[in-house]
């Protein structure tokens, strides 16, 4: 997560983020200490995501059970796809409630011009946190920047908040001034957790407790399971 976003975040927003990352927060923590704590947790989570290439399931893999060494090295006639489609665009894709993926492209002439220009300082992706899908940039609830280089063309973005919308803008920075190159599509980022509710139906709570909600292996899903449901989870029944 980029520090600029954390630096602008309120103490309450940092507390929510700490909750997201399951960070234990001491009662007497200062704002700066909390910011540091959240930054470390976010970095760790990011590394964990990046390294997580574990198999989805042996069953599905076993369908494609060919030894990598014998499955045919790239043939001489293998086609090569273009690195760029000579257009300027940025596309945003939701991976999970905490991470999005962006890929972008810049027209070849512009790339060359940036490379030759003394004024060109770099590229920036600005992440807009929007209250509505059609909100303008000026209405963003927050923004943070990700500096990228001309050789980058994709990036994973840690999403600090859920239940809002995100849009990206790709900027060229020239002599300190920003020039917008492309705007992305908008994505809706879901809660990724049980909806908040209080209905007083103990049977509904107990049924949810039986749904295996605590064993789903879904990141951060447990952070918002109401305690009253956790109390009802019957290990004997769920696990048999």
């Amino acid at each position: 997560m980029v520090r600029r976003f954390l630096a602008d975040a309120s103490f309450e927003a940092l507390l929510r983020l700490a909750d997201t990352y399951s960070v234990e927060v001491p009662e007497d923590i200062t704002r700066d200490e909390l910011e540091e704590l959240v930054q470390e947790a976010a970095d760790e989570w990011r590394e964990e995501h990046a390294e997580s290439t574990g198999a989805t399931g042996d069953v599905e893999e076993s369908k494609y059970d060919v030894q990598a060494a014998v499955s045919g090295s790239p043939a001489e006639d293998e086609v090569e796809l273009p690195e760029s489609y000579n257009e300027t665009r940025i596309v945003l894709m939701l991976r999970d409630p905490s991470w999005a993926f962006a890929y972008w492209d810049i027209r070849e002439n512009d790339q060359i011009a940036f490379q030759k220009s003394d004024k060109f300082e770099g590229l920036t992706i600005r992440v807009f946190l929007l209250p509505e899908p059609d909100s303008g940039s000026e209405d963003a609830r927050g923004t943070f920047d990700i500096p990228v280089s001309l050789i980058d063309n994709r990036w994973y973005i840690n999403l600090p908040e859920q239940e809002i919308f995100y849009r990206l803008a790709l900027y060229a920075v020239e002599e300190g001034a920003e020039r917008e190159l492309a705007l992305s599509n908008v994505i809706a980022v879901p809660r990724g957790a049980l909806a908040d509710f209080q209905n007083g139906h103990s049977s509904a709570d107990e049924i949810l407790a039986q749904s295996g909600i605590q064993d789903l292996d879904v990141p951060a899903s447990g952070r918002r399971i109401p305690q009253r449901i956790l109390d009802l989870i019957d290990e004997d029944l769920v696990d048999g």
Binding site: E60, Y64, L94, D105, R154, R191, A195, F197, A204
Partner: protein, 547 residues
């Protein structure tokens, strides 16, 4: 007496792999192995249940790419050749293992498997085993669901509603063409759901689908019956939620039934153990070691010192595990019945290839479960359509974005190993939109080229390619397939711009990727007046029953 229902779901899928240019193509074996070890044995289970008058209901999805391969004459002929080779190897194995007790028993069972497969394939199904599934579909025992055309993981195409719509529509049209009736249900590949898909599914007459557990319980309107009753989207599409516990009893890598030490070990195979001069005639190119399906050891434990397989012990364990599954099922139904006004329904979908190919004893376990349920007063098998007919009113809720992949969302199909794919497959889809706009009503050679481009665009979107790249099993092949399909779309795009379509090139590609015979390239057209995937968030509400 408390009572509940079980919806057993099987999803059969393989990517489209057909290489007429190569008589000994390694990856085509994925189909032959699945036919030999899963699809034909599963049909035998269904046939035995039918013959014995055991009532059963199973929801099955057969992907359009799998169906296309099962009905392809070239691949059917090659399956005969594969089976004859395996049969010959089986005979040699029976001789080689002479005097080795359970080893020879296993060798005989493999030989018998291939012998039975060959006879049934040629005589009973006349080379087309979809007839076997269709028989039970028409009898009402199987409910065959449609699924996406090439098994695209759909949440990664919400930015491309026309492409996503094409995947769903072609999948439904292929189902209707092959089985002669429109499907009631649609299997979302990898249980991948994003809000908005319900509108596309309903637009095409689909009445229900299945999502991952958290897809339902994280819905906008928390379902007060959890995953034990379907919910209805606002447009009326019913959504069943996968039951975590019953799925996990089988799926769990460490605790699931297939990991029992008595069961046959998948990895230890004579293809890696015996000398090449013996195995040569049965291996690709005579020297490439790979699995043959002849396996003689049991799981034993987390050790390389595997014990010989004991068929009697495994058979005993199959019955114990079926009994255990039913015991747990009945226990949970009893508990849930006390909390619900209508009988609880547990939905347990599995990859079909789990049964037989991966879990050798799986078909027998499935048969034992079905027979056990037939004798059980507290639970009955039901198809989703039957259930919805009996219980038409349900809570309204829109499920949450979700999948059954690792960590519950899209990470399996979108990570550092495979994310490069989307730039190109999205571009291929965009080129199709443009082509449809430029050539809205073509015939002759142009129509052929456009239809092939549409096939190639759909094939590029298969979830299998990014999955394989992440799993690391046959990465060069998956990479090549993505590149080939995207390049073929580009070839048509450029050729039409130049006004110069090469008949020879087109004929070659048509012969290679020969599926979806009635495909209309305008499937990629979209008038833009209704985008169900425009970014939106649900309004969160507390549980509330509409009915």
């Amino acid at each position: 007496m408390s009572h509940g229902h079980l919806i057993l779901g099987l999803h059969a899928h393989l990517p489209y792999i057909r290489h007429p240019e190569d008589g000994d193509f390694l990856e085509e074996n994925w189909l032959y192995e699945a036919m030999a070890e899963t699809y034909l044995p599963l049909l035998r289970v269904l046939n035995r249940l039918e013959t014995d008058g055991v009532p059963f209901r199973i929801a099955l999805s057969l992907s359009p790419t799998l169906v296309a391969m099962l009905q392809d004459e070239l691949l059917q002929e090659r399956f005969v050749g594969y089976t004859e080779r395996m049969l010959e190897l089986g005979e040699r194995e029976v001789d080689r293992t002479s005097g080795q007790g359970s080893m020879q028993t296993m060798a005989r069972s493999y030989r018998d498997l291939h012998e039975t497969n060959l006879r049934e394939f040629l005589d009973d199904y006349e080379r087309d085993i979809t007839r076997g599934f269709d028989f039970h579909y028409k009898r009402g025992r199987l409910e065959i669901m449609a699924t996406a055309a090439t098994h695209a993981y759909l949440p990664l195409y919400v930015q491309h509603p026309a492409a996503l719509r094409a995947q769903i529509r072609v999948g439904i049209e292929e189902h209707t063409r092959v089985f002669g009736k429109a499907p009631a249900g649609f299997w979302l590949p990898e249980c991948g759901y994003s809000p908005g898909m319900e509108e596309v599914l309903s637009d095409h007459g689909i009445r229900y689908t299945i999502v991952a557990t958290h897809g339902l319980i994280f819905a906008d309107n928390t379902p007060e019956s959890g995953v034990y009753k379907p919910t209805l989207c606002k447009n009326g599409l019913a959504v069943f939620g996968r039951d975590h516990a019953s799925s996990n009893a089988v799926w769990s890598e460490d605790e699931g039934y297939p990991s029992d030490p008595a069961y046959r070990d998948f990895y230890r195979d004579i293809g890696h153990d015996l000398p090449l001069d013996y195995l040569g005639p049965y291996l690709p190119s005579g020297s490439l070691r790979m699995n043959t399906g002849f396996k003689y050891y049991r799981v034993t434990g987390k050790t390389n010192q595997k014990l010989p397989y004991d068929p009697a012990l495994a058979a005993q364990r199959v019955q114990e595990h079926a009994d255990n599954f039913l015991y747990l099922l009945s226990k949970r139904i009893k508990r849930l019945s006390s909390l619900m006004e209508t009988p609880p329904t547990l939905t347990a979908p599995f990859d079909a290839e789990l049964f037989g190919h991966w879990w050798y004893e799986g078909p027998k376990w499935l048969e034992a479960v079905v027979r056990g349920i037939a004798q059980n007063d507290s639970v009955s098998l039901v198809s989703p359509s039957e259930y919805l007919k009996a219980y038409p009113t349900h809570q309204t809720a829109t499920p949450s974005f979700s999948s059954w992949g690792t960590k519950g969302y899209s990470e399996v199909w979108l990570d550092g190993s495979n994310d490069w794919v989307y730039r190109h497959v999205h571009k291929a889809a965009e080129r199709m939109y443009e082509l449809v706009e430029r050539y809205p009503d073509e015939s002759g050679l142009r129509q052929r080229a456009l239809a092939q481009a549409a096939r190639e665009a759909l094939l590029s979107q298969a979830s299998d390619w990014p999955f394989i790249m992440r799993a690391g099993t046959a990465v060069p092949y998956a990479v090549r397939r993505v590149k080939d399909h995207v390049a073929n779309v580009a070839h048509v795009y450029d050729a039409l711009s130049r006004g110069n379509i090469g008949t020879e090139w087109l004929t070659r590609v048509e012969r290679q990727h020969k599926l979806f015979p009635n495909l209309d390239y305008r499937i990629f057209g979209w008038n833009g007046d209704k985008d169900p995937f425009s970014a939106r968030l649900p309004q969160v509400k507390g549980p509330k029953t509409d009915s």
